[in-house]
């Protein structure tokens, strides 16, 4: 049913339908509305879950890790500094193969303090072993939670997952969302059946030390699970499409790419603005398209290569910066295109909530056509 609701509330309802048994979270802007709504549902007996109030994000994810090890389906949500405080626990969740699902309401990292959107927070955890999905709109922000649990809990994967969506731009925007029913979600996402769990009748340990003789093998297996997740995402996304009409079988999505001369690459809500800008540029005769990345981990290397190897140039819109190098998406797109002659130009854009308009997308394309790139787009002149 199409309902008009705030992004955060749409996500909270999707999470409710996933039937998490334990929720532990610490409120932080702009994630607050999600966890407030979930706390309300638990308090009013609309959601049968244990809601653990904690004193920090470190404790929030630690509680989730413990509850997941005990065999529960768990949920958390955070952003920015909160995610930074979870850094150590993030690696532990992946290393212990706990299928925790966490919403990342993307926000810039300090200093200087910024409550506004970019994607530096989740990108900075790209090496942690968590799956990373990015939503363009509030429909995807809700749907990707169902997909995330399905993939994370797959017995061949068992990895935690971030569902990333842009803070304020999506979380605080009201728009129509097709909400599923509990019965529909139950059919798609059956109850979690843990492969291993903490059990006093059958004791076992998680995350004990590994000597140099074994550590690398653990890391290899996490990496293999990441790569195997590509197929599982594809299968789970296809099944979602068959059941509810929205197909998420492709980890990347092309928009007017078929005959494109210049291909933009982007993740998250900026894709919507880029699509409108592309339609305008197409009307002016410019052959521009977009490759939207819905999955950043695992990195869809083959899909990126096959989608982009025919274009004349690639312009990556990076809402993050690996300081001292380039934007993280551009670096990996370049890697995927290694050996082709396609130039990849990087544009660091929209950091700390700077608004992106259609004319900015056009500006990027015009620069790319002149071969000018690898820069921060739209900087104030006084710092140059």
């Amino acid at each position: 049913m199409m309902e008009f609701m705030e992004g955060s509330h749409a996500v909270a309802h999707a999470v409710k339908y996933c039937r998490p048994q334990v929720i532990a979270a610490y409120p932080i802007t702009p994630q607050t509305h999600i966890v407030e709504a979930l706390a309300d549902m638990v308090a009013n007996c609309h959601l049968d879950a244990e809601y653990i109030t904690v004193e920090s994000e470190f404790s929030a994810l630690s509680a989730c890790l413990g509850a997941s090890a005990a065999g529960s389906r768990v949920y958390s949500a955070t952003t920015s500094q909160g995610l930074a405080l979870m850094f150590e626990v993030c690696f532990n969740c992946a290393g212990m193969r706990m299928p925790v699902v966490m919403s990342i309401v993307n926000r810039a990292l300090g200093a200087p303090l910024s409550i506004w959107n970019d994607q530096q927070d989740s990108i900075s955890l790209r090496d942690s072993g968590w799956l990373q999905l990015y939503a363009e709109d509030n429909q995807e922000a809700t749907d990707l939670h169902y997909l995330a649990y399905k993939v994370a809990e797959d017995r061949n994967i068992l990895l935690p997952a971030f569902v990333c969506f842009d803070g304020f731009i999506l979380s605080h925007t009201y728009e129509p969302v097709d909400t599923l029913t509990q019965e529909q979600v139950d059919r798609y996402l059956p109850a979690y059946r843990p492969l291993h769990r903490l059990d006093s009748e059958d004791p076992m340990s998680f995350g004990m030390f590994a000597s140099p003789d074994y550590y690398m093998e653990f890391r290899y297996q996490i990496d293999k699970a990441q790569k195997d997740a590509a197929q599982v995402i594809s299968r789970a996304g296809k099944e979602f499409g068959e059941m509810f009409g929205r197909d998420y079988s492709e980890m990347v999505e092309g928009y007017r790419l078929e005959d494109a001369d210049c291909a933009l690459v982007a993740m998250g809500s900026i894709c919507g603005t880029a699509k409108d800008a592309i339609d305008e540029m197409r009307r002016d005769g410019k052959k521009v398209g977009l490759l939207k990345m819905r999955t950043f981990r695992p990195f869809p290397e083959k899909e990126v290569r096959s989608a982009l190897s025919g274009v004349s140039r690639v312009a990556v819109l990076d809402k993050n910066i690996s300081l001292g190098a380039k934007g993280a998406v551009a670096l990996e797109v370049k890697d995927a295109l290694y050996g082709t002659q396609v130039p990849v130009l990087d544009y660091i854009i929209a950091l700390g909530g700077r608004d992106v308009r259609k004319k900015d997308i056009r500006g990027v394309v015009e620069m790319a056509e002149k071969g000018k790139g690898d820069l921060f787009y739209g900087l104030r002149q006084e710092v140059l």
Binding site: W116, H172, E175, P176, G353, R357
Partner: protein, 166 residues
């Protein structure tokens, strides 16, 4: 933000796609804030703030001193200003300004100077974009019981007032 949300809910109820969002990060009750609404027959994908509006609603006319509220307004655009006085500010050519004492109307119906629903009624009448039943439906969805009916009455009076003067 409540006014923006209500307008978008009413537009959505009228069968179009709608999007409403605040100028992010400063949305506290009583503080000067901006909020934006887009609606269209097709899905709204654009995520930037609105720089060239078709309509502007000014909830507090004292802000006009500090902010150029007419900036970016399209030719033929409509501005609705909540004020008890006639406007003394220069109005750009091609712009239609409608003034309404929404605060007094809100005080009369709600007993509070909260003008979201009165200005929504004024907007519906001035723009023709929203039908009165959709507007009332949106109010009843947001509020319940007596409070909903008081707000419906406030919106209706503003609607009739603007229909009468425009």
């Amino acid at each position: 933000m409540t006014a923006a949300e209500l307008i978008a809910v009413a537009a959505f109820a009228g069968g179009v796609f709608a999007q409403a969002f605040p100028a992010f990060g400063v949305e506290r009750r009583g503080a000067p804030v901006q909020a934006f609404v887009r609606f269209d027959n097709k899905k709204v994908r654009l995520r930037s703030q609105i720089y060239e509006p078709d309509y502007i609603i000014v909830q507090d006319s004292s802000l006009i001193r500090d902010v150029n509220v007419f900036q970016g307004l399209k030719e033929g655009g409509i501005v609705i200003v909540n004020t008890e006085k006639a406007l003394t500010y220069p109005i750009p050519p091609g712009v239609k300004v409608i003034t309404i004492d929404a605060t007094s109307m809100a005080l009369k119906h709600l007993g509070l100077p909260i003008t979201n629903t009165t200005l929504m009624g004024a907007f519906a009448a001035a723009s023709g974009e929203i039908a009165l039943p959709a507007l009332e439906g949106a109010i009843r969805q947001r509020f319940s019981g007596e409070l909903a009916e008081k707000n419906v009455a406030a919106a209706r009076e503003a609607y009739e007032h603007v229909k009468g003067v425009s």
